[in-house]
């Protein structure tokens, strides 16, 4: 077998040089006015972003902040959809809003294709991933996922109060994505650290943030070399071998996509499972109805995804422009809040309520347009199986201490501590 010489030290150095972009001043502390100084990293937002978003939608539907070097927050469904569809004027070359803007030359590929890619490259990079994430393909993971959920419940035996976020929800996507990428299942605890570093460490000093991100890439390179030495039937080997435009993928593309699949698949699904259990723990009528009518679960799940959509994306404005009443500057961030879109009363009846038998539910939890979450079918399978097994095995559960529930901060929203009384 010919040696794969794509992943050398030179590649690491080239990658680090690419990280040269624009760094803005880190600004933290209480928000003075959410319409002119918003920050999704402050505790008030983590505690209840919906109250803030609902208020902004009424009085300032495209809010601004000088933090992060300048960012906009639209809260109307219509505006969020318009941005998601407008890949000409809004670039995806960075999708995590931070104090660091990658250089423009990083487009159209971006650091983690295809989520960070713009057309026309985006389409070709995404096409490589789609077959592995169809509903039929991910349903092949269902029996193993179900067995794993049962084993997690078995391990709760004898406890009256359990942490449904850290003892249950978290482990499910970690195991599924480790299996798909062909990473050792015992590395799961490390993945949580990578996720926190990338998604929650936004306001760390830039050097420290770069240091943390490079830990993830060190890990991925170990996996790459392991798969080069012993190829197997998994997504890592697939990415190492697949061709685009007649040649194998560049090393940045391979490792960037691995990072995407690892990070994007974990926090998001963990959050969706946790938020659904949180809702059911505090809403006995919905819990009892789902136990009595298990066939309603797929409909209820869509409502949990609407009301507690875990994912907010980001975009960068390409050129100065007047847009929907505001003056945007090139390289301004957009915080693209699908959760805010999903609670717009102009789009949804009873938008602020959780209606588990909602029949018409055109929610945007998985995004809109060309960047529709590639893992949406996988996420839905995991969420459905996780809730089915929990409801079958635990059934009756309540919040052990509502004030002890904690939520993630940043662009992915879900419970990180969720003590539930299960007997």
């Amino acid at each position: 077998m010919a040696a794969d010489d794509r992943f050398t030290e030179d590649f690491r150095e080239a990658r680090e040089e690419e990280l040269l972009g624009t760094i803005s001043e880190v600004v933290t502390g209480p928000v003075s006015d959410w319409s002119t100084d918003f920050s999704h990293l402050e505790p008030e937002w983590s505690a209840d972003p919906y109250k803030i978003q609902d208020d902004l939608r009424q009085r300032c539907p495209v809010a601004h902040t000088d933090r992060f070097g300048g960012a906009w927050l639209p809260t109307r469904y219509e505006d969020i959809a318009a941005i998601a569809y407008d890949t000409e004027r809004f670039s995806s070359r960075a999708i995590i809003l931070s104090n660091f803007r990658p250089p423009r030359e990083l487009a159209p590929i971006g650091g983690s294709p295809p989520i960070s890619s713009d057309p026309p490259f985006h389409h070709d990079a995404r096409k490589l991933l789609l077959p592995a994430f169809t509903k039929a393909a991910v349903n092949r993971q269902e029996p193993a996922t179900r067995a794993f959920c049962h084993s997690l419940i078995d391990a709760l035996e004898g406890q009256d109060v359990v942490d449904a976020a850290s003892d249950y929800a978290q482990h499910i996507p970690v195991r599924v994505i480790a299996d798909m990428l062909g990473f050792p299942p015992q590395d799961g605890p490390q993945f949580r650290v990578f996720v926190e570093d990338l998604l929650e460490g936004i306001n760390l000093p830039p050097d420290e943030r770069i240091e943390r991100v490079s830990r993830l890439f060190d890990y991925l390179l170990v996996q790459v070399h392991d798969h080069i030495d012993s190829p197997r039937d998994d997504l890592t080997t697939y990415l190492l071998n697949v061709e685009l435009y007649g040649q194998k993928l560049g090393p940045d593309h391979v490792v960037g996509t691995m990072a995407l699949l690892l990070i994007a698949g974990i926090d998001t699904t963990w959050s969706a499972i946790g938020a659904s259990l949180w809702h059911l723990a505090k809403t006995p009528a919905d819990r009892e109805r789902l136990i009595a009518e298990p066939a309603l679960l797929p409909t209820a799940m869509e409502e949990f995804l609407r009301a507690y959509a875990p994912v907010t994306m980001a975009r960068l404005v390409r050129e100065d422009m007047h847009w929907h009443g505001v003056d945007m500057k090139a390289d301004d961030w957009i915080l693209l809040s699908f959760p805010a879109a999903n609670r717009d009363p102009a789009q949804f009846d009873r938008a602020a309520e959780v209606v588990i038998d909602r029949q018409v539910n055109r929610h945007a939890a998985f995004g809109l347009g060309i960047h529709r979450c590639v893992g949406s079918h996988l996420a839905r399978m995991e969420l459905r199986v996780a809730l089915e097994v929990w409801l079958q095995r635990i059934g009756d559960f309540t919040l052990a201490d509502p004030s002890a529930v904690t939520w993630s901060k940043g662009q992915i929203r879900g419970p990180r501590t969720l003590p539930l009384r299960i007997r």
Partner: protein, 66 residues
């Protein structure tokens, strides 16, 4: 009554084949496909409407015929 998917709008959310698997399927990349010629059999009109109303991309059309 017939259903039709606009391939220019479909992004593969799969709501149509989740909600109405007698009328829609997925291609190898997960994009929605109308099964057969899209004619909605008697009794499946409700499913067809559900699929239309739940497509996040507004990609499905219902063609009412005389």
């Amino acid at each position: 009554m017939k259903v039709h998917i606009d391939p220019g709008r479909c992004q593969g959310h799969g709501r149509c084949y989740d909600l109405a698997d007698d009328l829609f399927g997925a291609d190898d990349e997960g994009y929605g496909q109308v099964l057969g010629d899209g004619t909605v059999p008697a009794g499946k009109e409700h499913d067809a409407r559900l699929a239309v109303l739940n497509c996040p991309e507004h990609a499905i059309e219902l063609l009412e015929e005389g």
